[in-house]
């Protein structure tokens, strides 16, 4: 077999791997992307499409997100592919005084980081989002929040990467990393070995398994989210919607009362209306290993919560459901950059519930790093 050599080998064809491939190829590097299945076969094909700033923790998390949001505005034109980007603004629904207090302090910190978020009483919130229940406290509103179709995003990145000369190889699983005197210099696949200057491990929840043989222990683990899909509807939900307990379930699950099933499953509302009219109604946050099955308890809890906050949804038809596995990290931040002590190996993984929002900035930063 003839020797195949590239500047960069990217492992994983989710939004992160395809973004890395795109920005690196655009910067003139020779890139091969290896995906064991097909583009967006993993978590990026089983998630929502929020590009939401408001949900990020003020600090490095929010900074990354805001940098990404700026990149998105250019991407729409650059990719020359409809990624269904919609800058529709986002709301976080507030149910009661306790949540309102939490959100007020969150919003104050966001303002200090340069993100403008308004707090709306329920009447004003309902004027903007008709489907909200009248007995809620209100909602936050942020104009910088947007939405994208994650599968089309991964497709858009990969097509554009190919136009810039990247070699895309779906159906090619990486079976091992090749190291020479401590430096990673390639990968093994059933179709032969591939040599490169840098390996970028962007395999989402599968990343720890790939790098463990080199002695690197990444604290990424799958955190399941279950989503209901409705029939296509006329315009019903105008913003991307979260609820305040989504933030608690995401960052401070220990604060939730574990007696309630709702909390045990980490239910936080996430609702968006996709370009074809269907609503995605999510979701749970559960540690269930690599099991991508939906559960009756999970779907029931998601539906009940959505119905309480958005009573109009009680009468819509659900046509299917699915679950995806978020690449969770204990500190809520992704792992982006060179692996300590293993030259040649770059990690881009662990984006939990923010990988769609953070894919451009991740791809861009990795490409800059490898210039």
């Amino acid at each position: 077999m003839n020797k195949q050599t590239f500047d960069i080998a990217v492992i994983g064809g989710g939004v992160i791997g395809t973004a890395v491939a795109y920005y690196a190829a655009k910067a003139g590097r020779s890139v091969v992307l290896l995906e064991k299945d097909h583009i967006a076969a993993g978590t990026s094909g089983a998630c929502d499409g929020f590009i939401i700033m408001q949900s990020k923790n003020p600090g490095p998390h929010l900074e990354l997100a805001m940098e990404s949001a700026a990149l998105y505005r250019d991407l729409v034109a650059e990719l020359d592919y409809d990624i269904e980007y919609q800058p529709k603004g986002g709301m976080i629904i507030i149910e009661n005084d306790t949540q309102a207090a939490l959100m007020q302090s969150h919003v104050a910190k966001q303002a200090a980081s340069g993100l403008k978020v308004d707090i709306l009483p329920i009447d004003e919130a309902r004027r903007r989002e008709l489907a909200l229940a009248p007995d809620l406290w209100g909602a936050t509103y942020c104009a910088a929040d947007a939405q994208v179709n994650p599968v089309r995003l991964a497709q858009g990145f990969s097509r554009a990467a190919r136009r810039h000369g990247a070699d895309l190889r779906p159906g090619t699983a990486v079976t091992g990393l090749i190291a020479d005197r401590g430096r990673v210099c390639g990968v093994t696949t059933a179709a032969g070995d591939i040599y490169c200057q840098y390996v970028v491990a962007a395999a989402g929840i599968w990343t720890p398994g790939l790098v463990r043989p080199l002695g690197l222990d990444l604290p990424i683990k799958p955190r399941r989210g279950q989503i209901l899909v409705t029939e296509p509807l006329p315009p019903t939900i105008r913003h991307v919607l979260l609820c305040a307990c989504y933030l608690v379930a995401k960052y401070r699950p220990q604060d939730l009362d574990p007696i309630e099933r709702h909390n045990r499953l980490g239910v936080g509302l996430a609702v968006e209306q996709t370009a074809d009219g269907g609503l995605l109604i999510g979701s749970t946050r559960e540690f269930a290993g690599f099991d991508r099955a939906t559960t009756l308890a999970g779907l029931e809890a998601v539906a009940a919560h959505a119905r309480r906050l958005l009573p109009a949804l009680a009468s819509v038809n659900i046509i299917r459901s699915f679950a995806g596995l978020r690449p969770y990290t204990p500190d809520g931040l992704p792992v982006i950059g060179p692996a300590a002590d293993i030259p040649g190996l770059i990690i881009a993984a662990g984006h939990e519930g923010d990988g769609i929002a953070l894919s451009p900035v991740t791809g861009r930063r990795i490409a800059d790093l490898l210039k």
């Binding site: 099955a293 939906t294 559960t295 009756l296 779907l299 029931e300 459901s321």
Partner: protein
């Protein structure tokens, strides 16, 4: 009342009902769930005399077979929930919406007998009111007694297309033409002969190029096709009609089996992706059985035999009628072999044998 059953069956068509009868006869607490207001699946639309062997009720009309099955089921104490949709399978839990209410059932064994759905074809105008599935036409005329139109073109010359065309004639409609893209008629000669005698032209090597009309179909343009199914230039004819029947095959309704996580195989002969099953109709998931059109589109007669097999096997696995089970199953299997013989049965028999072989392979991979 508890929602615990030995066996829960999704679908009260011939397969589901036959399974229920066998399971209940052996002593299993059995529930059948069907989304319709009436049980019987496709059977109650079928006012024609059945084809197949005499042993298999050839000459008996479909609805009569259905009534007999229902009477048996009632006598044996089978519970039947109508207007109830099975929407999910989660391990051994069956999620049902009944009268707008969500109910969770615990089932020791589950039999999926959900049947098949009609295929659609796309041509310009296919979404116009008046273009409909042959099954829909059959339900309208034979169940609801409503004539969907006066001048009809039927697309597809399989048994469904032929039978529904004939039933339209009986109901007082004019069948202007029966159109078939292939170069030969797909269904049984007896059915084709009946509609020919009634003066309906059967146009082989022809398809519907487009339908047209304002707010409702008013006509179709037919196109002659060559051997590679390409339109022959100048081979277009226009017919003024008000209804188009589409009878271009069925696809197994397999969503629940996918959801449960059953392994599938693609079988064009059986209508698409079908769940792998063994000689007892058990899928790759222990305790989940399949029977009837969901395992591959065939006939009511084979659907009933598969249902019986699943019912006997599921009951025996729970200890009901276990002693006689092997002999009982062998009797069903030999009747099924007879059904799958002859020029029309052979293809299905081969396809079915492949499913069983692949199921064995799947089992050995797991060990």
């Amino acid at each position: 009342m508890t929602n615990n059953y030995d066996i829960v069956i999704a679908g009260a068509g011939p397969a589901g009902l036959a399974a229920a009868v066998e399971a209940a006869r052996r002593g299993a607490r059995t529930l059948v769930v069907d989304e319709n207001t009436k049980p019987g699946g496709q059977l109650f639309k079928q006012i024609h005399k059945f084809f197949g062997s005499h042993e298999h009720k050839a000459g008996v009309r479909g609805f009569a077979i259905g009534e007999k099955l229902l009477a048996e089921a009632a006598e044996l104490g089978v519970e039947v929930w109508l207007n109830s949709v099975v929407w999910g399978l989660f391990a051994n839990k069956v999620a049902v919406v009944r009268g707008g209410e969500q109910i969770t059932l615990a089932a020791k064994k589950i039999i999926l007998a959900t049947g098949a759905s009609e295929n659609a074809v796309a041509f310009p105008g296919a979404a116009l009111p008046g273009v409909m599935g042959a099954g829909a036409i059959q339900t309208m005329i034979n169940v609801h007694r409503v004539l969907p139109g006066k001048r009809v073109v039927m697309l597809g010359s399989g048994n469904v297309g032929l039978i529904v065309a004939y039933q339209l004639l009986q109901a007082g409609a004019e069948v202007v033409a029966l159109v078939e893209a292939a170069s030969a008629i797909g269904g049984y000669g007896v059915h084709a002969a009946k509609i020919r005698r009634a003066g309906v032209p059967i146009l082989v090597g022809t398809t519907i190029a487009r339908a047209f009309g304002r707010g409702q179909v008013e006509g179709v343009v037919l196109a002659k096709l060559d051997e590679s199914f390409q339109p022959v230039p100048g081979g277009e004819t226009t017919l003024a009609i008000d209804t188009v029947g589409i009878a271009v095959g069925l696809t197994p309704l397999t969503e629940l089996a996918w959801m449960a996580g059953c392994q599938f195989v693609f079988s064009p002969r059986l209508g698409g992706h079908v769940p792998l099953h063994d000689a007892d109709m058990e899928t790759t998931l222990s305790g989940v059985y399949v029977a009837g059109d969901i395992t591959g589109v065939e006939e009511a007669s084979t659907a009933m035999e598969e249902g019986r097999l699943a019912g006997i096997a599921a009951a025996a696995a729970l200890g009901y009628g276990a002693a006689a089970a092997e002999a009982d199953k062998a009797a069903v299997r030999s009747r099924m072999d007879v059904l799958r013989s002859g020029p029309f049965g052979l293809g299905r028999r081969t396809a079915k044998a492949e499913i069983l072989a692949q199921r064995k392979e799947a089992a050995s991979c797991r060990e």
